[in-house]
Symmetry: C2
Subunit: 409 residues, 2 copies
Amino acid sequence: MALIVQKFGGTSLADADKIHRAARRAIRAKLEGHQVVVVVSAMNKTTDELVRLAYEVTDRPSRREMDQLLSTGEQISIALTAMAIHHAGHDAVSLTGGQIGLRTDASFGRARIREITERNRIVSLLNKGAIVIVAGFQGVDESLNITTLGRGGSDTTAVALAASLNAEVCEIYTDVDGIYSADPRLVPEARKLPFIFYDEMLELASLGAQVMHSRSVELGKNYNVRIHVRSSYADAQGTDIVTESSDLQQVIVRGAALKKDLARVELMNVANRPGLASEIFARVAERGLIVDDIIQVIHKGSDHADLSFTIEAQDLEPAQQVLEEMRRDMSGMTTEIKTGLAKVSVVGVGMRTHTGVASRMFEALSQANINIENISTSEIVISCLINEEEGPSALRAVHAAFDLEKESE
Amino acid sequence: MALIVQKFGGTSLADADKIHRAARRAIRAKLEGHQVVVVVSAMNKTTDELVRLAYEVTDRPSRREMDQLLSTGEQISIALTAMAIHHAGHDAVSLTGGQIGLRTDASFGRARIREITERNRIVSLLNKGAIVIVAGFQGVDESLNITTLGRGGSDTTAVALAASLNAEVCEIYTDVDGIYSADPRLVPEARKLPFIFYDEMLELASLGAQVMHSRSVELGKNYNVRIHVRSSYADAQGTDIVTESSDLQQVIVRGAALKKDLARVELMNVANRPGLASEIFARVAERGLIVDDIIQVIHKGSDHADLSFTIEAQDLEPAQQVLEEMRRDMSGMTTEIKTGLAKVSVVGVGMRTHTGVASRMFEALSQANINIENISTSEIVISCLINEEEGPSALRAVHAAFDLEKESE
């Protein structure tokens, strides 16, 4: 007998039929002899309706009251899921974030989990044979104000509970059936991965793979929780997200990803002095811009430098404003923004010990006649900035170059 | 400066406009120098929607999960009401039943309040200048399971809070503008009462006046909370529900009421022996029937009795079943049910010290050619059972006979 945490997202609970389907999943695991904790998100339409209500009342709802409001979404889901399990003749008890003592800091809308104080309550219910249904995404601060965990919050709740309860696995039921070697909508020959390492998943998440939010993967890594991403609608095995170990075959490249809607900002002829970069990026950070792939080039024999970085296209307007200010304050500097870019990347922990990955990637792009605007690398990632319209063909070229469609085990 | 509790029901919060209207009420009281606690019900449509969701999942939702589900309704209301107050530029904090420590027993769906443990949290927020918005209808049991208080639950929360905080008044905002000497839809000349005593209100509530639920009035009586029932939509003063005192003029009859949809059950020729009535009413109670106005007549020189009582027409079917069983078990007994009845009543604490009320009532009904089926009296009530179609004219006749349309102060 093992303890299993199952997490169902909003689309997996969209109506009564889907709630019954999730309930059957939990009951099946119970009948297989496991103890089962189910973590649920709000039904999609519930969240939409709550947000609509808030904005009918005010155009600037306070974060605390928004959390008070939105947390009802998961509370509705837990009650309905428990009812569905009862309906099938099994025991179930629903618990809110407050009722499991999921304590967070007081950052409404993006709270961080500190501890789960009522672990024993859950264990005691499980030992009595009940399936325990827990509201994801929500917690309480030390004054018992209701907080929410922000994007990917229910996944984070599920992984935190799996860690706290020492669960054998944290199953994430979602509308895709696993993690793929690349987005199968763009690369038809992409392969579902039997497993992926936490660090690889973290990189893929930040590079545009939207299956799991990086916060929950990080938590899984820190507490060594096996996360299994699988389909709500099919029985096939999904993908395990696991600790690196010598038992599991390392591949050089695990997967490839494409991040679209990027723009490249260039600052040219900037007077080079100590503290320059920190001043520039302080201004950029003030506007809340997310920047990536910073490159600084100091021209030989000159006291001026060129500097460039990538932003998301949605941040274009604030970026233009900050550039205008900088040109006013730093004489001689010129700026340029190039839009319509995308980033194609390969990820794999095997790169730490293997060479030649970069050249193989550049060669693949070159053979596909794709021009590389920029290159950035980290320990387990190589990324190339390219024109957006060439994104899908670049992804397919890279995917093929590393034989990602082939079984690696 | 006083502390005021204001309670708004579901119809008073039906949409964003109405929520803003309730918010303005609270803000006005704040600007007049008061500390303000607002208790809210769920928006009507929210409750309907939640009930619909539950019954889509199962035809027999558990009481605990139903409370977990339904309590989200008030939580939505408190968040939206707080947002509306913020929108108008004032400070407000919403609190759930759990967050104010409203502890109840564990009777899901009809829990009884035991205490309010977080009184100091409310006082501290009020002292900082915030309007405190509290979810009505809900509490938590000692294991922090969410409970609901049943019918009239938000009124009960409001009165309990007013008692705990020693409020000057508990204002109940509703869609009628006060308590009337009779239902103004039936008696156009009915008068809005400036005040009414708790005991009178309790009797009127049980006799069909639906403005306040008797549980909250009883709580008000026990803790001497002045309850002021008034309109959400108009500024006119409503009706105070208060303790009897010699300062306030006593009238013999405060109001008249009509309770419709009644049936009279008669058991004839029942063998009279000790424990007979208790046996009969134990059977009736098993079916959950609410009975009233029990009369037992023992025929002179006979060892048989006749017995009659009133039930609500909605209980007719279970009543017929229980009568059938009794006829089978008690030989010789015959039964009869008369439907289409109503009860006209007059209520007033002055009856305790005045005589002649009954005869005046009978005379009024007689002059209106209304036949009396049955009479019952208590310390401050006289009721006559009549044919339902004569109900409105009986109510008007009684109302006129006691000059209830005239100012009594």
